[in-house]
């Protein structure tokens, strides 16, 4: 990689400067740096500067290295970058490595107490008496480590010009308006700022300036956005088992549902959340709930998906609606539970045994996390099938800026459900008969429907269009053909890709999900050095006609993804064999989100061949 980076044209790099650089806070997890980091991120955002925050944390509870990267970008680019210009070194164990990674011209802020030699001549060192300043908070000894984080907030504010008022606002936001903790934190912030003003001569050029690029925008993480989407989608049943990085999706859902989804008069809930004993039970509960008519959701990640295999195939084959959020993390196996990847595409697409293919939604930003939060239910119920939403750790747990969410633009679509009145008129119904619409979806009835014609029997074994048990070859095949029709029908109603066709481009980029921000930036940079690219961002599988048309329109198709095997590239090859030779997989999988530098350099390099 680094060789590539060095060879490639310099325009592929971000030009750093005012409002254009990254800060990395290297800490130890469990030391309580989250408040500090989110306060800085929010303050910058509220100064109108496009900002993102990415947390690189270990898979344990305390004592291991953690990095929090804050990127500012006056151009509005919010993907991770390869380098961070400003290092706040708070973890002695990784300090040498961390310092070595600072690019020339960068800044190292570190605790005076460490007494380390300032060996690099191409970076600026600032040391802070962190402990001493932390003590100014008046906090007990136990909380000093925590307060130490506030020291770098104050120092950065002073060094970069972050408005102290915005820091205070961010703290107020963080503490839900409670003054007391805001005051003790501000004490440290101010002391540190004062220390810097009095003792440090600024030698670097990094600084921030208020601008106007975040007006009417919000700062949020994807799991919260998804949870809110589900709530506005009328989710009624949730079953789950805790697993990083999906846990906060359900926890936020529960939190906000208690706020937004209690009957005002009775204070009774219009939803139920069950913590299951494992993921088999979680999806089993969804199957029961979806069958009985609830809008049922779970959130999980790789190992949980693996355990859901059998019931996923069952729900597919019995036409039961349910929604599974797979907030992907790094596999195979336990892998790196706190690192990102897009490695579950093939697993989820084919989840189950026998001939199974699922509907997948691929949100790429906060608005889509919200939108697919509700839309997934409409699709699941319209198609009577499991819908998998593939978010990931980067989307789900990091801090993104976003437009405000749009209220659902359609009423809820409950799909083909027959009421008692309809049944009493029809006097019968055929559960899996789609002859009316040829869309692969038959009418269903909900348990408890007050009609003698309502009942039918659901089973994962062979059934005919009347939902009766069968082993007859033709009835079996008819049912599989119906499911194939449904898959083709789904192709026409799942969200369309976002396509940006550029005149004169010979190259098409295809991507999906959390890499979108990095792709946007990579295209900008490639364009700057003369490579025009068109772009199709998939929002769903199966791929819609627009995707297939896009593929047919370009000579070279770079499918960019954050996994090892180039999984989406494989899926697309089988969907459009005529384009298979044009597909070039551009994939990387080391646990960190893709950078625009890497994407641009990889495509550039392949174009040179």
């Amino acid at each position: 990689m680094s060789a590539v980076l060095e060879k490639r044209d310099d325009s592929l790099r971000t030009q750093v400067g005012v409002n254009n650089f990254s800060i990395v806070a290297a800490t130890v997890n469990g030391s309580g740096s989250q408040t500090a980091n989110s306060v800085i991120t929010r303050a910058l955002f509220k100064m109108g500067i496009p900002t993102s925050g990415k947390n690189l944390f270990p898979s344990n509870i305390s004592g291991l290295p953690t990095w929090y990267i804050i990127r500012l970008s006056s151009e509005g680019f919010i993907a991770r970058r390869e380098t961070s210009e400003i290092l706040v070194a708070m973890n002695r164990a990784t300090a040498n490595d961390d310092i070595a990674k600072v690019p020339a011209g960068g800044v190292v802020i570190y605790p005076t107490e460490w007494k380390i030699p300032e060996t690099r001549s191409d970076v600026t060192y600032y040391s802070l008496p962190v402990l001493q300043l932390a003590k100014s908070s008046g906090l007990t000894a136990k909380l000093l480590t925590y307060a130490a984080n506030m020291v770098y907030v104050g120092a950065l504010a002073e060094l970069l010009g972050i408005e102290i008022a915005e820091i205070e606002n961010a703290l107020l936001h963080h503490f839900n308006g409670k003054r007391k903790p805001v005051e003790s934190n501000m004490a440290v912030v101010t002391a540190a700022a004062e220390f810097v003003r009095a003792n440090i001569v600024k030698k670097d050029t990094f600084r921030v300036e208020r601008m106007n690029m975040t007006k009417d925008m919000i700062q949020i993480d994807g799991n919260t956005a998804s949870a809110l989407g589900a709530i506005f989608g009328g989710v009624t049943f949730v079953a789950w088992y805790p697993i990083t990085p999906s846990t906060s999706l359900v926890e936020e859902l529960t939190h906000y549902a208690k706020e937004l989804r209690m009957e005002p008069e009775t204070k009774k809930a219009t939803f139920a959340v069950v913590q299951a004993e494992d993921e088999i039970a979680a999806i089993g509960m969804l199957v029961g709930a979806g069958w009985a008519g609830a809008r049922a959701l779970t959130a999980t990640s790789g190992p949980g998906i693996a355990l859901m295999t059998e019931y996923a195939g069952y729900a597919y084959f019995t036409d039961i609606p349910l929604v599974v959020w797979d907030v992907t993390r790094m596999g195979p196996s336990t892998g790196m539970p706190t690192r990102v990847s897009q490695g579950d595409i093939l697993t989820v697409y084919y989840l189950g045994h026998g001939d199974t293919r699922h509907i997948i939604l691929l949100p790429a930003n906060m608005e889509e996390c919200f939108e697919f939060g509700w839309k997934s239910f409409d699709l699941a119920e319209r198609l009577q099938t499991p819908v998998f939403v593939l978010s990931d750790l980067d989307l789900g747990m990091n801090t993104w800026m976003s437009n405000q969410f749009q209220y659902p633009d359609k009423p809820m679509d409950r799909g083909k459900v027959l009421s008692a009145e309809q049944l009493n008129e029809l006097k019968s119904f055929n559960r899996y008969d789609d002859s009316a619409d040829k869309d692969g979806v038959g009418p269903r009835t909900l348990p408890g429907t007050d009609s003698p014609y309502a009942a039918y029997f659901t089973r994962g074994s062979g059934h005919n269009s009347k939902a009766m048990y069968t082993e007859k070859p033709d009835e079996w095949e008819d049912n599989l053909k119906r499911l194939a029709r449904k898959h083709e029908f789904a192709r026409t109603i799942v969200p369309s890709p976002v396509i940006d066709s550029v005149d004169g481009a010979e190259v098409g980029i295809i991507a999906y999900g959390s890499t979108d921000a990095a792709i946007a930036e990579a295209r900008y940079r490639l364009n700057a050095i003369g490579l025009k690219t068109s772009y199709a961002r998939l929002k769903a599988l199966p791929a819609t006609q627009e995707v297939l048309d896009f593929m047919r329109a370009y000579k070279r198709l770079y499918v960019v993804e954050s996994n090892f095997d180039g999984q989406m590239a494989k899926v697309l090859m089988t969907d459009a064999p005529d384009c298979a030779t044009r597909i070039v997989s551009v994939s990387k999988c080391d646990g960190w989100s893709l950078t625009s530098e890497w994407i641009a350099a990889s495509i550039w390099e392949k174009e040179q061949q």
Partner: protein, 345 residues
Amino acid sequence: MSLQEPPSQEVNFIGLSRNDYKGGASTLCKGCGHDSISSRIITVAYDLSINPKRVIKLSGIGCSSKSPAYFLGQSHGINGLHGRMPSMATGAILANHNLVAIGVSGDGDTASIGMGQFKHMVRRNTPMVYIIENNGVYGLTKGQFSATADEGQELKHAGRNELPPLDVCLEALVMDCGFVARSFAGDPRQVETLLKAAFSHRGTAVIDIISPCVTFNDHEESTKSYSYGKAHEEIVTDVSFVPAREELTVDYKEGEVADVEMYDGSVLRLHKLDSKYDPRDKFAALKVLEEAHLKQEFITGLIYINEERPTLSELSNLSETPLSMMKEEQVRPSREALAKLMSEF
């Protein structure tokens, strides 16, 4: 639902005939205990005037798990995955907490692959009648031992079982189940009585019904073997041959012990709890089960009852309207609510 007897022989309180409670034709072996349990369910549902349209039937996989297709044809039914019915039931019941749920499982389905889900369903006190049609073997996969098979039991197909039996009643009991009962498929009166009681229990009601497999509870070397001699036995080395057999039945009184001869010639000892036994005493229940275990006999009757524990539906603080029947306005917050939220991020 009511526990009174129906007004006439032809129709019950809600105007349905016994026929309205029947299901599809059974595809189980002739004489299989599971079929007689289906009949009991039909009778009890009719007698109690349960509205079949308000019933859901759930099962796992196995011969036993097929049976929901053979009773209550007017009820919605769902045949899930092997060992994973409890979770499915939990979801369905919370989706519509006004329905009556009957689960049917086998001993393989509950005690082998399903142990985890069974325990956790009981722990949650998911409101349902949970029936285990217990034959100590895997019927549908042709006669391997399940976890409830007796230690030392020998079967033609599976050989000798070396492991101790797992007692589903004891398992339910130690997990704080509020209704634990056991019976024998060939004792219609007791099965019906217990089923009636189970339907009026508010939480999980577990009934373990010994229901011998007429086809695979058989072993080659047995001299006491089922009614035909040595030579004839050999001829049926044809593993695909299933002779028609009579259902095993038994009639015995409270407090009594009955010995039932199984198809393989072994003897099942049943011991019916007497009226002095207090099923509200958990400690007595533990004792009676442990003692029976040592004596290798089966205690039948209502072993434990406790109506105190709140059910999962109750703990969930659910609205009156079932979740599945909610209208859009009940479950989609307003535009204003979204606007307010957006201002907070």
